[in-house]
């Protein structure tokens, strides 16, 4: 069982967490054509890379971002979400 380090609760077994999908910026719905919007909704990049992912610590209700290498399945780092321009 893997360990994920929650930025608030520290290292915990994976069963304490829920995966929240890849981190993606939503495009402006008004300025996006149908094909682009459908691509945003349905397409996910599965190529080997360091992915930014949402994870949720269930017991404390904490959302955070994890950078994970999906090839080696290593968590590189985790941090709380901060809107763009407000630092990490």
């Amino acid at each position: 069982m893997k360990i994920i380090t929650c930025p608030i609760n520290g290292p915990r077994p994976m069963q304490e967490f829920t995966y929240g999908g890849e981190f993606r910026e939503m495009p402006n719905p008004a300025g996006t054509d149908d094909a682009q919007w459908a691509s945003y909704v349905f397409h996910r990049g599965g190529e080997p890379a360091v992915k930014r992912e949402w994870w949720y610590h269930i017991a404390s209700g904490t959302w955070f971002i994890a950078e994970r290498d999906n090839q080696s399945d290593q968590f590189i780092r985790t941090y709380l979400y901060a809107p763009a321009g407000e630092g990490k």
Binding site: M1, I8, N9, R12, P13, Q15, E16, I58, A59, S60
Partner: protein
């Protein structure tokens, strides 16, 4: 006296030889079974229901300031804990949210609850958590059979949010009656399940159920 509120595990205690007391309008088991047996269970491995302790939550940008005005000690660290005047605890459960539980004197929380009204930036939250206390020489073995983290190595004066027997709980390690004890807060509707699991495991390890009087000597029979 009427008892309008009930612990979620009242029906388990009801079947035992319990001396009942009351906190507010909620019954609490003070002693369970003969004294000698209870003391030895308490030393070995004990499970206790203290859900009757009054609780309160408040949340919002003005929550901390309001608490200071009421002269409540406010823990600064996330999940940090401070002691209330009546022996209870206050926990910072989020940057702008607090959880309070009175001690057995049940003074601080009812007094605050009477004063606290909804206003912009300050929201009163109902808290209905069950409170279980576990302690005794074999408590760590019991916790190792239910928890995926090493509670024996966690810091003091902070609440740990984790899973116990598959259920999300908040756990506060503390010294009670000169024993290492763990206070487990769990959602009211999961409490019945968790009580049964803890009881089964602790029973296998030679433990059992004790009254809150083991932990809180000040409690008296109603």
């Amino acid at each position: 006296m009427t008892t309008l509120t009930r612990s979620p595990v009242y029906h388990h205690l009801e079947k035992l030889a319990v001396t009942w007391g009351q906190i507010g309008d909620c019954p609490i088991a003070l002693t369970v079974g003969p004294r000698d047996a209870e003391v030895s269970t308490f030393k070995r491995l004990a499970l206790c229901d203290a859900s009757a302790l009054p609780k309160l939550g408040l949340k919002g940008p003005k929550a901390e300031a309001w608490l200071r005005v009421q002269e409540i000690p406010v823990p600064m660290a996330m999940f940090g804990v401070a002691r209330l005047a009546d022996g209870g605890v206050i926990v910072r459960v989020a940057s702008n949210e607090f959880f309070l539980e009175s001690g057995p004197a049940a003074e601080t929380v009812p007094a605050l609850a009477a004063k606290l009204k909804h206003e912009p930036g300050l929201h009163r939250l109902t808290r209905q958590d069950a409170t279980f206390l576990v302690s005794g020489q074999r408590v760590h073995e019991a916790l190792l059979q239910t928890c995926g983290i090493d509670l024996a190595r966690q810091g003091v004066n902070a609440v740990i949010y984790t899973r116990v027997a598959g259920v999300s709980c908040a756990i506060l390690p503390e010294q009670l009656s000169d024993q290492q004890a763990y206070r487990i807060w769990v959602d009211y509707t999961y409490a019945d399940y968790l009580w049964e699991e803890l009881h089964d495991i602790m029973h296998d390890l030679g433990g059992g159920i004790v009254g809150a009087g083991c932990f809180y000597l000040r409690l008296t029979v109603m």
